[in-house]
Subunit: 136 residues, 3 copies
């Protein structure tokens, strides 16, 4: 139960440094900051799903979800999501995408907590999300 | 013990999206990013306690505390607070308010850890705080 | 096991407010945001290890590690590191320093998860890091 394991979905691009996309130890699962990169293509650099907030947000959700599932968890186990946006003017649109996405996920447990703040991100990226989950 | 429950103080304004102000699962309690909104008034949009850092910080503390208490926790259970300010020049004043507030709370356990960084927040908001607690 | 204790390395500078550099409760250990301050010298204000990203990053790692060890933990127990930089152009260099440092640490467990975002920090500081650990 207290072994620490790395959660590395096969489709994810390699992290830009020596960190894990996700780790799990006991009942705690931590997802590293995910962005809207498409599944890795060998020999190609990481590529965002598109230039729009919608494309990047949905791909970021998919990337977070893949890590949760790699650790035997689901959105229902998520306690906290941290959403990093680059522009305050994106808040309303992100919330629309967020609400529609989680509506479709058919959650059984209450929605997770969330903090949204506005920071700098690498050029071309509009959103980053990380997540803390507690497994049942 | 491992059921995930939402912590929704009756007085809180509705979140701007499908997330919970707080969640608790097992002994882990996560408080979502809180700002200085006054208790909700039906039919009115969320309203900050005032334009000053002091007013907003004290209201933010009250909002975090209400969620902790909704989950059967207190400041003594808080492990980590993340304080988001919009202006480095607010650091000294925030620390004064912070110290005076926690002096009054008469904590029995050691003070929590904290990280303070400077980010963008929605117009009119000067501070946001979230918190992670571990219950005894 | 569920007592909350403060983790205060003897060499650390005093926090600028009523918070703890680290806390531990049960198997959860939280390290507060650390910066590149040198060990405290009585009667002197906190002083960064130097003006460069390299100097500050390595000192920040040392400061995080001291808190982990104060709580009987090590880098192997860290689940999540949050890295706050002030400049997107520092990302590549920080990753080089990061990788070289953790190469030397001879970790037994998988690398922790990580989120890196770009925020404001107090004048002269280029990096801040906090960490969440789960003990075995």
């Amino acid at each position: 139960m207290t072994e620490k394991t790395a959660l590395v979905p096969a489709t994810h691009t390699a992290p830009p440094a020596k960190f894990s996309h996700g780790v799990k130890k006991g009942n705690i699962l931590q997802v590293a900051g995910q962005v809207g990169f498409l599944p890795a293509v060998e020999g190609q650099p990481p590529t965002p799903a598109g230039p729009t907030l919608r494309e990047q947000t949905l791909q970021t959700f998919a990337n977070v979800k893949a890590i949760l599932e790699e650790g035997g968890a689901s959105w229902d186990d998520v306690m906290m999501m941290r959403v990093y946006l680059t522009d305050v003017d994106h808040f309303a649109e992100m919330n629309e995408i967020y609400n529609a996405y989680f509506e479709e996920q058919d959650l059984k447990a209450p929605a997770s907590a969330r903090t949204t703040v506005y920071v700098g991100l690498p050029k071309g990226l509009l959103i980053e999300i990380d997540a803390l989950a507690v497994l049942s």
